[in-house]
């Protein structure tokens, strides 16, 4: 076998016996499929990530000779989508003598109300799909969807894998590979993976393959600023890729919401803010921003398709596309020049203050005060005819003075 193969692939369980941990749950699921008959309830696996729910579904299908059809329920959420995907599958499942096992992953991602009948459609499909074994997986035991699904399913709960069992499995993998690590490193690997077998195997492979000792100093925790500076000062593309990949940052998905800290740790954002603050000619900046824009589109697509393993190529793509133009730059955390961001901050603070004062008096929301009332207030108080976008700091000061004459001038400036 290829020595470069990832251990998680090489040691992927091919039978229920090869899995580790949650023995009772495995046995229960095994008995369920071994004794499955027309009209039996679907199986609902509930447990935290990394405990082997998906692996179990795949191994069960392979052991009993079923063709596994896998669907992520949190992606296909609406009634129409679920009906159009699942109905034909179930109705035609046994036409050609194919034995089909349907696996619905992340069913807790569905929502009864927001997903326009997704839950009711799923319940109706499960009711009609009694001839096809259906396995569902959920991370959480709480919520409206799981409550409803539990009523119609056989529930099997999976929990974290105890560290001693992980130690046993790690010892087996190292023996198969003919490698050895110190007992201290083995304990650190087991503790550091938090019950996730994949994570443990990846760390162990890095440890024995690259000679990186222990879990903690794996070299992937360079502060974002140092990593970006390292990237800009690298002598070769390979060095630049290495600097990016060792950073504490990541490529996060804006659609899940940004807070300040996540935004700071976003590698693409760190590169963007460093580039827009640098002094360079327009063409060079256009080339750099164009490359980042392409990478941004790619990251968004990877996140939308949930193909997160593709994120490993982003460092290389970015490094190769901006390496020549980005020599000599340095890290900058802020994506706007200080004078502009300071002005935006000051104006925003004053707008919020005025909206906060007016909202209870006018029985309106703060948002509506800012969006609809502010232009007229500026006009009345300042005597100027302006739109919301043209409100200046002086206007805001005038309003603040008019509303609360005791306050000093220049507030928030």
């Amino acid at each position: 076998m290829n020595a470069q193969t990832m251990w998680v692939e090489r040691y992927r369980p091919r039978s229920m016996v090869e899995m580790v941990g949650n023995e009772d749950a495995r046995l229960e699921a095994y008995r369920w499929l071994a004794g499955f008959r027309h009209g039996d309830r679907p199986l609902l696996l509930i447990g935290p990530p990394g405990t082997g729910k998906t692996t179990m579904a795949k191994v069960l299908a392979s052991e009993f000779g079923y063709e596994l059809i896998e669907l992520n329920a949190s992606d296909e959420r609406t009634k129409e989508r679920l009906e159009s995907l699942l109905r034909p599958l179930i109705e035609n499942a046994n036409i050609h003598g194919r034995r089909v096992l349907l696996f619905l992953d992340e069913v807790d991602g569905l929502h009864g109300t927001y997903d326009r009948g997704g839950l009711s459609a799923l319940l109706s499909i499960l009711n009609d799909a009694s001839s096809v074994p259906v396995i569902m997986a959920a991370n959480s035991d709480a919520g409206e969807v799981i409550k409803e699904l539990k009523k119609v399913s056989k529930v099997v709960r999976m929990k974290g894998i105890p560290p001693r069992l992980l130690l046993l499995y790690l010892g087996h993998v190292l023996a198969c590979e003919g490698k050895s690590v110190s007992i201290g490193d083995m304990l650190r690997l087991v503790i550091g993976c938090n019950g996730d077998v994949r994570s443990m195997l990846n760390s162990a492979q890095s440890l024995v393959g690259m000679g990186v000792h222990g879990v903690e100093p794996m070299g992937y925790s360079t502060p974002i600023g140092s990593a970006i500076n390292g990237f800009f000062s690298s002598a070769s593309v390979e060095e630049a890729i290495d600097a990016l990949s060792r950073s504490e940052g990541s490529y996060s998905d804006p659609s899940f919401g940004y807070d300040g800290e996540r935004r700071r740790l976003d590698k693409l954002n760190a590169l963007f803010s460093s580039i827009v603050n640098a002094r360079m000619d327009v063409d060079r900046m256009a080339r750099l921003l164009g490359a980042l824009s392409c990478a941004d589109l790619l990251i968004a697509r990877v996140n939308r398709l949930r193909a997160w393993r593709m994120l490993r190529y982003i460092d290389g793509i970015i490094a190769r596309s901006i390496f020549d133009d980005s020599r000599g730059l340095s890290y900058n955390q802020y994506d706007l020049p200080y004078n502009i961001s300071n002005r935006i901050h000051g104006e925003g603070r004053m707008l919020r203050m005025i909206a906060g004062m007016l909202a209870p008096r006018l029985h309106e929301s703060r948002r509506n005060i800012i969006a609809y009332y502010m232009p007229y207030i500026v006009h009345l108080l300042g005597g100027k005819s302006k739109g919301t976008g043209d409100i200046s700091l002086d206007d805001l000061n005038a309003i603040a003075k008019g509303l609360n004459p005791d306050k000093r001038d220049g507030m928030g400036a």
Partner: protein, 133 residues
């Protein structure tokens, strides 16, 4: 210290009606005949521990079972005891003696379990067919 066994019955001191009712709601069963308690599958372990700690005012710990030999896994003397949050762990672990016997011993035991499950199911299905005939 009170030890809670996930795999077998255990006894508790008299804790009063209120604590008893809260424990039952959290997923503990009481067997009147043997006067012992048992933790149900899917019980809220975090709540059970909190209720007991509050009631007895001493340390309460969970004891896992060894998957291979069926004895206690020896959680108190385990090298991972401070890093293993047993509230969120599966109820079966492995004791030190079985750990030393190696992975083959573990998989051999599991193979026998799955073989037994397969033959049990075969018997059940055969019996069901016979009855329907």
């Amino acid at each position: 210290m009170i030890r809670l066994f996930l795999h077998r019955d255990f006894t508790l001191p008299m804790l009063g009606k209120d604590v008893f009712a809260r424990l039952m709601r959290a997923g503990v069963e009481y067997d009147k005949a043997s006067r012992s308690f048992r933790i149900k599958d899917g019980a809220d372990m975090a709540s059970i521990l909190a209720i007991l700690r509050e009631a007895v005012r001493e340390e309460v710990s969970i004891e896992l079972q060894c998957i291979v030999c069926g004895d206690d896994a020896g959680c108190a003397g385990c090298e991972f005891s401070s890093n293993c949050d047993r509230v969120y762990m599966a109820s079966k672990c492995i004791c030190k003696q079985c750990l030393e016997k190696g992975y083959e011993n573990y998989t051999w035991y599991l193979s026998s379990l799955f073989d037994a499950a397969r033959s049990d199911q075969g018997r059940v299905r055969g019996g069901a067919r016979k009855r329907s005939v």
